[in-house]
């Protein structure tokens, strides 16, 4: 069969359409970056992620594969769907490989203490140096504001905040954040993108913590306060919030899932911004982090974990008999 160029059969000649989406770049493929890659590839869009070393790139493919196997084992996907998803994902250490992306997502993850602001700004700058003028840049940050990251850009109107909530594959909402200089065009593009990848976009004017982080940090902080005062045990507080208010996870389970280092970092950013006591990381959180209890992935946080299941509380108070 002959193969020809489709464009020769257009009714009216057109240039490459604005608003089309063929390839997305992701900078930083930790758990979040990997989940985002899967979500996008699942919709048939090519994805390329950039990470630090070649070895890390190989590891990331393994991690994605394991993550998808977990979903298959829980019946959420078929093997052929997994193959298709992985075939559309590529990895690299070279920023030049994202030059043809229509959208680039910054989702770096650092375990270092302190703000990741400068690091993220640097990433934004590097992205802009290789992509075309029409490429949209988004950051997955939740506690930093997009306008500040966009300062380093020659075209700050293309920067949008897009905050995924963990576990990104299953959580149905994303926060789409508009900075002061974000153009309507860029913003609409990202809202459309969010819908395309099957998420419900929550539109937000920029503010540190958006909705999700701002509210969850205060809930967790207040739960820590309640625990610190010795009012009830970790499990009792979690159970009350789960059974009483239909939360899927209690505040401490959630803290362990988010990871306590990240949580403290969020709180510190919010505290620095708002100066309000309610955002100041509770001493219990800091105590756990200093003890190396980072949450579920490290094996201990507010709970000790064995094979992913909570087995015992780490902080215990005498219960009322």
């Amino acid at each position: 069969m002959k193969t020809e160029v489709l464009e020769d059969y257009a009714l009216k000649k057109r240039t490459r359409q604005k608003g089309s989406l063929k390839k997305v770049g992701i900078i930083g493929a930790g758990t979040m970056g990997q989940d985002i890659a899967v979500i996008i590839s699942k919709q048939g869009i090519d994805v390329i992620f950039i990470d630090l070393t070649e070895e890390r790139v190989d590891e990331i493919f393994n991690e994605i594969s394991l993550r998808l196997d977990e979903i298959i084992n829980k019946w959420g996907m078929t093997k052929s769907e997994k193959r298709a998803i992985i075939s559309r994902i590529s990895g690299s250490v070279d920023y030049n490989d994202i030059s043809d992306c229509d959208l680039v997502i910054e989702s770096i993850n650092t375990k270092k203490a302190g703000s990741s602001k400068e690091l993220r700004k640097n990433v934004f700058k590097k992205i802009e140096s290789v992509v075309s003028k029409d490429t949209i840049l988004v950051s997955n940050t939740s506690t930093l504001v997009i306008s500040e990251l966009a300062q380093v850009l020659d075209y700050p109107d293309r920067a949008v905040g897009l905050h995924f909530i963990t576990p990104a594959i299953t959580v149905k909402v994303v926060e789409v954040v508009k900075g002061i200089k974000t153009s309507d065009k860029s913003y609409e593009f990202v809202v459309k993108f969010a819908k395309f990848i099957g998420k419900i976009p929550i539109t937000i004017h920029e503010s540190p913590g958006n909705i999700s982080t701002r509210l969850i940090t205060t809930i967790i902080n207040e739960a820590c306060e309640t625990l610190m005062e010795g009012i009830a045990s970790t499990t009792s507080i979690d159970t009350t919030m789960k059974k009483g208010y239909g939360m899927q996870f209690g505040p401490f389970e959630l803290a362990d899932r988010i990871g306590l280092i990240k949580l403290v970092k969020w709180m510190e950013n919010l505290y620095a911004e708002f100066g309000e006591q309610k955002f100041k990381p509770n001493p219990i959180l800091k105590r756990l982090v200093r003890s190396g209890f980072y949450g579920k992935t490290s094996g201990s946080g507010f709970y000790h974990y064995e094979n992913g299941l909570a087995t015992a509380e780490t902080i215990t108070y005498p219960e009322i008999k």
Binding site: M1, K2, T3, E4, V5, L6, E7, D8, Y9, A10, L11, R16, Q17, G19, S20, L21, K22, K23, G44, I45, D46, K74, W75, G76, M77, T78, E81, R88, T170, F196
Partner: protein, 402 residues
């Protein structure tokens, strides 16, 4: 009269250009990977000219623009001017309770189809995209909507209701709607045409056995029951869908496997059926091959598949109070002699006897395969949904013009 028939899926469009003078197909084709990387259109003209076009198609509207571009092109086209096209026929999956026949598309109709998105969230939206696109590209041209559910709208209420609280029916319209209606309607009509039977007097059971599969009981030309329900999961065992299932099993699995609604949905739609049982494939041919080589799970899958169909035939014979004609269609019904002979087994008490010789090796051809002395006639009729859509479109448009 020239008619374009469109079947818009989520990322694909199937199309055919008919000349209704002699119901000839001038051209047909397939648009693939809409909105994805590496979109293509394959166009096939009746004179054998075949071409594949590669490029970028961002949405259905652009896909349809290119279809019109190819159909009207000098090199691979079949028409010289869009003025030659008289009407567009669309396949629309869900017509709910409102549409019992095909209809001329008006703003009112579009609104109603939009309302039914709730009932067919994967299918009605792309169907609508095709309608919107044509409305914009060829404004004023009559468009007709042919519904997958319409043929089954004649089912009696006791057949389409589920025994769950009645308010769920009034609130959400939960009831049996059935699918493949265009196919069941076409093959049952065509069978009577071939056999010279009066459609309005016959008791017919039609088996549409493809990747999706359903069976319908047709009494005096009217569908009185069908195996698919509110969704296409119910009824026969399919490639990857479970078909009928004890409802308690689903909630039990969800509890034991700690899975949510999405996973449960994938489990019964994509991991089950022939694939789930055999662990080999959802493709009947591969499963048959494995069974021949002695794979017992493949044999089990086939046994279950055939048994389920036989059970339904028996049930529908009871619902109809007898059976005159059994029609087999769809990829498996039209091509698999083993399936055909297995599902017709042990029906002598009904007066149904297959002729093994006649059945052997028939592929995609209209043919009677029951024995000469069989009271029930078993016939293969390859389905042709596009032709039904084209015919309905012609009839509705001619009526409206008059």
């Amino acid at each position: 009269m020239k008619i374009i028939v469109l079947n818009c899926g989520s990322s694909s469009i199937k199309y055919q250009l008919f000349d209704m003078e002699d119901e000839k197909v001038f051209a047909k084709g397939l648009v693939e990977k809409i909105g994805l990387h590496g979109s293509t259109i394959t166009n096939e003209r009746d004179d054998g000219d075949k071409v594949k076009l590669e490029g970028e198609i961002i949405d259905h509207q652009q896909g349809i623009e290119y279809i019109l571009g190819v159909l009207s092109s000098k090199k691979h086209g079949s028409i010289s001017d869009f003025g030659e096209i008289d009407a567009i026929g669309h396949r629309v999956v869900h017509g709910g309770e409102k549409f019992s026949t095909s209809v001329l598309i008006t703003d009112e109709v579009i609104k109603q189809i939009e309302k039914y998105i709730d009932l067919a969230p994967l299918h009605n939206p792309p169907n609508l995209k095709g309608i919107y696109a044509m409305k914009e590209l060829l404004p004023g041209l009559p468009q007709v909507s042919v519904f997958d559910t319409a043929f089954h709208n004649t089912m009696p209420i006791y057949a389409y209701m589920y025994a769950i609280p009645y308010t769920l029916y009034t609130k959400y319209g939960i009831r049996r709607y059935g699918f493949h209606g265009t196919s069941h309607s076409y093959v049952s009509n065509r069978a009577c045409e071939i056999l010279g039977n009066k459609y309005a007097k016959s008791k017919i059971i039609t088996c549409h056995l493809g990747n999706g599969a359903s069976i319908a009981a047709i009494d005096k030309g009217k569908s009185i029951d069908t195996s698919m329900g509110l969704t296409p999961v119910e009824g026969l065992i399919m490639g990857t869908r479970s078909g009928d299932l004890d409802l308690g099993i689903l909630t039990y699995i969800m509890r034991r496997e700690e899975i949510g609604i999405t996973e449960a949905d994938t489990l019964i739609n994509k991991h089950s059926g022939i694939l789930g049982i055999t662990g080999i494939s959802s493709d009947m041919r591969e499963v048959e091959e494995a069974a021949e080589k002695g794979n017992w799970r493949a044999s089990l899958g086939l046994d279950m598949y055939h048994y389920r169909i036989r059970k339904y035939i028996g049930a529908y014979a009871a619902a109809l109070g007898g059976i005159d004609i059994l029609v087999l269609t769809g990829g498996i019904g039209e091509n698999a002699d083993l399936t055909r002979s297995e599902i017709c087994k042990d029906f002598e008490y009904l007066g149904l006897k297959l002729d093994a010789e006649k059945n052997k090796g028939v592929r995609g051809k209209e043919k009677v395969i029951s024995a000469d002395n069989s009271k029930v006639i078993v016939i293969i009729v390859p389905t042709n949904e596009e032709l039904v859509i084209a015919r309905d479109t012609r009839d509705i448009v001619s009526d409206t013009v008059k």
